[in-house]
Symmetry: C2
Subunit: 202 residues, 2 copies
DNA sequence: ACCTGAACACCGTTCAAGT
DNA sequence: ACCTGAACACCGTTCAAGT
């Protein structure tokens, strides 16, 4: 067949299909992407830097939805929670990609640029350089943890027959109100920001 | 050859070898475990419920190191942070297993029993049933997030040439004191416990 | 530059055959 | 019960050959 006049696939379509698979099954495979796009497995490698490259594309795709515009305008203790909420919403829309992303370090320039902006906000607010990463990581934990909850039917606890041994846990899971993820997130977020503020005191 | 007089391998040795591989490379494979134990791939399946079963064994192995004894004795606001510290230490010793565990829901009875105990502590302290999971999940986010930091050379940010574009991030990473993970964890942990306490007010 | 077709080494899983 | 050997379907990656 040889090279077609116009490319049959592109990075965008590869990313979309990979995300579709991850949302549905928690994983993806290169041959399966190729099949769905009506192309041979090898063709994928003309557009993408292997499987790891696709993971990085997924990271970029999910992170595109994060709004970071407030980082330059609002004061730090409003900008940080606002950014965190947008961050969480982006990942909550695709919670099953998170384990995938944790396996490899962040390389996507777009994502690194956001962290760079957050560093700027914190330094501008008066946080010491040596404390900045501590604050960022703490915030990120809360954000990703909250997003992860959407990964399973009732979060990370999918109790089958084992439920009989843990009646209290079952009760607690059943008693949860609808918007648990949201409420848990706001609880931890608020607590952390107040904790950060104490670092600024002389 | 047929069945040997005494079994050549057991679940314990399979788990130890799998953990060794995960600590070293971030992943494991059934054939590689078999090779290292001097046995054929198929033999593994006589002792273990497939690859997923091995993941669950890893969860149990890592969680064995968690001390939950304080859950029955100390008041909630001392028991919870003490449990969280032990929890974190156990995972910080093997940070690369965490992404593996996130992919599948918790089934290990030993682990579920600990959560059951925490539920009991919180109910006993006066938290409402509907709030218990919120508190537990928030705490767990902090714990696992802090443990994850040990996965890479300098946490999740392994900057190569991309470092030139994010000077502030590089500066912040370099300025971090030695015990960052520990300090970040204590910061978030303290803030969260104080946040939880406010839920108890009338 | 971009697709095919074919190849390679690897993986997870199963199962009859042996003791 | 537990090991082997062989098989199966699948995966990630590479690459010459074609346009």
């Amino acid at each position: 067949m040889g090279r077609p006049r116009t490319a049959l696939i592109d990075r965008q379509r590869i990313t979309t299909e990979a995300l579709r698979q991850v949302d549905g099954t928690g994983g993806f495979s290169v041959p399966e992407i190729a099949r769905r796009l009506g192309v041979r497995t090898g063709s994928i490698y003309h557009h993408v830097d292997g499987r790891e490259g696709i993971v990085e594309l997924l990271r970029e795709r999910v992170c595109e939805a994060i709004d970071a515009s407030m980082l330059g305008t609002l004061p730090w203790d409003e900008a940080l929670p606002a950014w965190a909420r947008s961050y969480r919403a982006a990942f909550a829309a695709h919670p099953r990609v998170i384990p995938l992303l944790l396996a490899s370090p962040v390389r996507a320039p777009r994502v690194l640029a956001q962290y760079e902006a957050v560093v700027g906000v914190l330094l501008g607010a008066g946080f010491r350089v040596g404390e900045v990463m501590r604050v960022i990581v703490a915030l990120e934990n809360v954000v990703l943890g909250a997003a992860l909850e959407g990964a399973g039917p009732e979060g990370m606890w999918e109790l089958g027959e084992e439920g009989g041994r843990v009646p209290g846990l079952v009760r607690a899971l059943e008693a949860e109100p609808e918007g648990r993820a949201e409420a848990a997130f706001e609880l931890a977020l608020g607590a952390c920001v107040r904790g950060f503020r104490e670092l600024l005191l002389p």
